[in-house]
Structures are given as C-alpha cells and as structure tokens.
Amino acid sequence: MKIKADILLLLAGLLLITLLFGLNLLIGDVHIPWSDITTLLSGGEVEQKTWSYIVESRLNRSVAAVFSGAALAVAGIILQVYFRNPLAGPGVLGITSGASLGVAFVILGGAGAASIAGGIGIIAAGIIGAMAVLALLMFVSRFVHNPVTLLVLGLMFGYFTSAIINVLFLWANLDDTREYVLWGLGSFEGISTENLIVLVSVIGLFLLMAVFLIKPLNALVLGSEYASSLGVNLKTTKLLVISITGVLAAVVTVYCGPISFIGVAVPQLVRILWTSKNHTVQIPAVIILGAILALLSDITVRLSGNSLPLNTVTALIGAPVIIYTIIKLNKRLA
C-alpha cells in the first residue's frame, strides 16, 4: 500500500508540474490567449509578431526552472547521503560558491556572457570552480569525520570564495560588476534557446547518471563500511558523486545564478512526503519536487512583477524546511 501511495504521489507530482508549466506559459503582463500559445508551440503563427518571442521566453524559463530545480535537488540528496548529513547541499558545502568564483573570474575579468568566448569560458570556469571545491571537501573529509565540522568547513570555503570575489570587484568596471550582481540574484529568465539546449542536455545526461548511484546510495545510508561490505566500490562512488553533483550544481549556477535552498530543502520535503526510503523512489521524487518548487518560485517572481529576486523566493520556501530539519535533528540527538 505504501509503495502504491508513493507512486500515486509521484504521478500527482508530474500532474502538478504540467499544470504549473502551463500556468507559467499563460501568466504575464501581456495577455496571450491559450489558443495562441498552443498555435505558437505547434509551430504556427499569430497576428502579433512579438508574441512568438514572449512565448519562447516563457517556455525557456519554464524548462530551465524544471531542469534546474531537479538538478539542484538531486545534487542535494546525493550529498546528504554521501556526507550523512541532512543539511548538506550544493550551496551549504560551498560548491555553488566555487562555481560562482569561476563565473566571477570570467565576468569580472571582462569577458561578458554575451560574447562567445565569455559564454564558453563561463561554463568551463563554473564547472571547474564547483568541482574544485567539491574535490577539496572530499579530500578534507578523509581527515575530518564529524559531519558538522565538514559542514562548517563547506561554509568556510563558501566565505573564502566570496571574499576572493569581493577582491575581484576592485578591478572590475561598473558594467561587469552590475552584470555579476544581477547574475548573483538568480533567475530562470533570459536563457536563449541555444543555451537551454546545453542546460537540458547536460542536466539530462547527469540525471541519468544519477540512476547508477541508486544502489550505492541505498547502501551508504547505513555507512561506508556497510556499503563496502555489500560490494559497493567506494572509489567509483566517490568519483560519481563528485562528477554528478559538481556538474549539476555548476551548470545550474552558470546559467541561472547561485540558487539557494532548493538543494537542501527538497530532499527533506521528500523524506516527509514519501514513505519509502529507497532511492529508486527518492531520486525520482526529488526530481519532481525540485521541479515543482523551482516552477513555483519562478511563478511567484513573475507574479511579484519581477520585483522579488528568485533567491528571495527560494529562501522563503526553503528556510522554514531547513529550520524544521534542524529542530528534528536536534530532538533526535538529544
């Protein structure tokens, strides 16, 4: 019965994504009838020339929200299981900050996102930055076994990279600084179709790769020694964890900015809503819930007349979940 309920919940989640996706296409300052939206989506033409661009823009941001939310949530659950810490996540452990540092080097160095060299450079620098922080964290984790200490170290890495970014501001001009600050607020807006194809392809590929982690993650819940005794190759698992979470967090950060809270909060919500502890259920569940939360956040941003930054909305949703988790964790440890 429990499995049935979990599957029903997954299906309900998929239905909700479809509804929110449709809503995100429909709402906006320009009223475009649903019939015109479907005409445009099916390759047809409508009388108003700019409507095709408006619908394309709404479509791109909705797709970006679905994939980015899913990516951050999957990265979050993998890190939480690997570090055996419910508060771990790409933002908390400094991985997002690492990606931000890479992006800052490119943007504040003068190669804006608009240029081709800048565009490719930003992606590469973001991925390198994210994976460097994650690799450093894993190296440190060999000597530091206390998960709380590891979290604090992740936060310190985040502060350290932020400090370097602040130093970079000294040499940047006003336009580059403004571009970086706007990027830092997070947004699913403004992703071109070409960039969206890259985002969707990379995230899609690494979400598929996450399937290979289902069995190791199920074993790692009980500890690395137990996982090893079950035949889990810890070295390969570690490599997969670095690659998958690093790339997922970096790609989202590069294209949408450092989006906070989704990576930490979604796995917690999944543990509350879904009964199964099996990652065969939990991984699809975080994908669906991550997409829902990201879409909801984007809709909220748009309904606020774009006056609320995306990170403000994700914080409003995510912070209470994290506070609840900390209280629950505290009770368990008491």
Binding site: G28, D29, T50, Y53, I54, R58
Partner: protein
C-alpha cells in the same frame, strides 16, 4: 540632592537634543536680499545677494527627498557680517564627486582648481582627462566610495557633492572639509541642468562668462526646439536588466529632450519623478508600435544594429528596428556624461538629424544605429 540624578539625566537629554547647525548663524538672521541671480529654468538652486555677502543655496525640488545647503561668500569685506564664516573667493582647490561638475568647471576654464575627483576613469573627454592628469588631480573614490583619508590629505577649499546620502555631509564637516550639494541631475530639462553653470560662475567669480555661455546655448536650443510634440512619432527608451525594463519618468530630462525634438513619449503617464518598472515582455509588446527606440548604453565601439539584435532576437520584431529608427548614444565612446550636459543644443541637433528634421550635421552623442 535626591533629585540630582534626574536633573543630570535631563541635562544629558537636553544636550543630546541640541540641533547642530549645518552652516552658521547667519542663515537664521533676517537679512535683506539686495539682488538675486536670475534663474529661468533650474529649480534646485538660488543665488541671493545681501549686504556685503552672497548666499549660494542648493535645495531639493521634489517631495520624495529633502535636503538644503547654503554657502556664504563675501562680496564686500567691509560690509559683510563679521560674525559669519565665509568661503574664500579665491578657490585654489576643489574636489568633485561627479564628472558633471567637471563639465561646468571646464566651460569656465577652471579645471586647474580641480585637485580631487571621484571616478577619473569615467572622464571620456581625452583633453579634459589629460589636463586633470597633468594637474595631478587625485582619485578620491577608490572602490566607488569617497575616501575620507584621501580627502583630508587633499584638504580642498570646497568639496562639491551629491545629496545621495545624508550622512556624507556630516562626515565631511566632521573632517573639517567644507562641502556643498550640487544636485543638477534632479532638474527635468536640459536647459535647467545647464543653468547650474550660473551657480558655478558665482562660485568661481566668473558670472559674466557663465551667463554669456548659458544665453548663447539657450538661444540656439530654443531656435531648434520643435513644438508642439508630434503625436504620430512615438519613442521608447533604454534596455532591460534581466526581466525588468525601467522607463524614465515622463518628466525626466531625457524624455523632455526628445520631446523638444518633437517626438512623443510612449509612456506619458509614467510617474512624475521616479522611473516606472515594466516587464520585459510588456515593452516587447509596446515596441511593435513605438516609432523610435532611444538607447543610451555602454557598448564597444562600432556597435551595430546586428549586434543589438544578437543580444536579443525579439528586438528584430520592434517597429524601430524594422524601420531603422533606433537612436543610440554609446556612453563608452561618447562624452555624454562629461560634456553632454554642457551642450544640450548639440544633443538636440543630433536627435533632429537622426529623425530627419535637420540636414548637414555631424552627430556627437546620438546617432541612428546602422
């Protein structure tokens, strides 16, 4: 004796309530105004002549902010009230918070007194930049903030500041630096903004030169000005930041400048003083109908229409883009910020030329994007 702690408390309280004077006691004295500088367009300053001295007054002009500042200068030491403190008539050293202040001083041929400046790198005018460097003008705003230490080291006779932050003036006063608010950017017309040259003329003892320059530009500008506005030729402004498109107020300087060229703003109901926030997609929709698109932005030299459309393919559907009526001011390569303020008639000519209302003109600030 048992009341002494209470008494002491009230003593401290009353001491804390003493209102610190911004200038000196003269402002509270009733003095007869003998003469004033005629100000035709500007709303943010006054110059009043009293017996033996004059007062430069700078003040807010809108309800959404309040500030006022007064500076006293002696005109006749024998008649001037000796209990007041005056700024020297022979200024040897001035620090400026903005490049627009430099524009006024340059017009009066007084760049030599500029010893400190915020944002040297933003002075696009090569001649002015070279002159300032040659004079050893010091950058006083490393990291976009005024460095009090640099300012103290410089110890200028006067620091011309913007009233952006109320605590700034207090900090400068506490450091022994005389400062004065220059808020020409709040004016809503190009002529009103230029008229601040009259205040600089008084300050630098070059009243006649300042008045002559202003009158010359005013005459030329009014001759060029088109009226009434042609409601058939509409324009939109600026570029979006991510999803937001900030449209200047219908009563802003830039809107009035383009309306002086006979064009009509697409958003005439936009707030009186503040920018209005529009969503990107709403402006995309409106741009189907707006005849002209005015862009003032920093872009590489040689920026073209193709580059603009490459930034956002949706622009290809804009009426102004289709009809090649995008009027562009490249703030990275033109002197818009440093000398545009001094030449509103040239900017108006540029716009008239770009809109086909003037022939034989070499654009300096605004040109049609190709």
């Amino acid at each position: 004796m048992k009341y002494s702690p209470v008494l002491l408390f009230f003593c401290f309280l009353s001491a804390g309530c003493v209102r610190h004077q911004q200038q000196n006691s003269a402002s509270s004295k009733i003095a007869e105004i003998h003469d004033t500088v005629v100000v035709k367009y500007a709303e943010g300053f006054d110059v009043n002549y009293y017996d033996g001295y004059l007062a430069l007054i700078s003040h807010s002009i809108r309800q959404n902010s309040f500030f006022a500042d007064t500076l006293f200068l002696q005109t006749d030491p024998l008649k001037a009230d000796s209990s007041m403190s005056y700024l020297s008539r022979n200024l040897n050293s001035i620090a400026c918070q903005s490049s627009t202040h430099i524009a006024f001083l340059d017009l009066l041929n007084e760049l030599d007194v500029v010893t400190g400046l915020c944002g040297m790198e933003y002075i696009q005018n090569v001649a002015v930049h070279e002159k300032l460097q040659k004079n050893g003008t010091l950058e006083i705003c490393p990291g976009e903030q005024v460095s009090i230490e640099a300012l103290q080291k410089l110890n200028p006779d006067l620091f011309l500041i913007y009233p952006f932050e109320t605590t700034g003036k207090e900090k400068y006063n506490a450091s022994g630096i005389t400062s004065f608010y220059i808020a020409e950017y709040l004016e809503t017309t190009a002529l009103a903004r230029l008229e601040w040259i009259k205040l600089f003329g008084v300050l630098m003892n070059k009243v006649n030169e300042a008045n002559a320059y202003f009158e010359k530009v005013e005459t030329e500008y009014l001759q060029l000005k088109r009226a009434p506005v042609d409601s058939a030729r509409t324009f939109i402004l600026n570029l979006p930041f991510k999803d937001n498109w900030h449209m200047p107020s219908a009563n802003s300087l830039v809107v009035n400048l383009f309306e002086d060229a006979g064009l009509r703003y697409y958003y005439p109901e936009t707030g009186l003083t503040e920018n209005d926030l529009h969503s990107k997609e709403a402006v995309w929709n409106d741009a189907l109908f707006a005849d002209y698109w005015i862009i003032m932005a920093s872009r590489p030299a040689g920026f073209s229409m193709a580059d603009l459309v490459a930034e956002e393919p949706a622009y290809a559907g804009f009426k102004a883009v289709i009809q090649n009526q995008v009027i562009f001011c490249n703030t990275a390569t033109s002197n818009y910020f440093s000398s545009g303020i001094a030449e509103p008639q040239v900017m108006l000519k540029d716009i008239l030329f770009a809109t086909g209302q003037l022939e034989d003109h070499e654009p300096e600030y605004f040109f049609l994007l190709n």
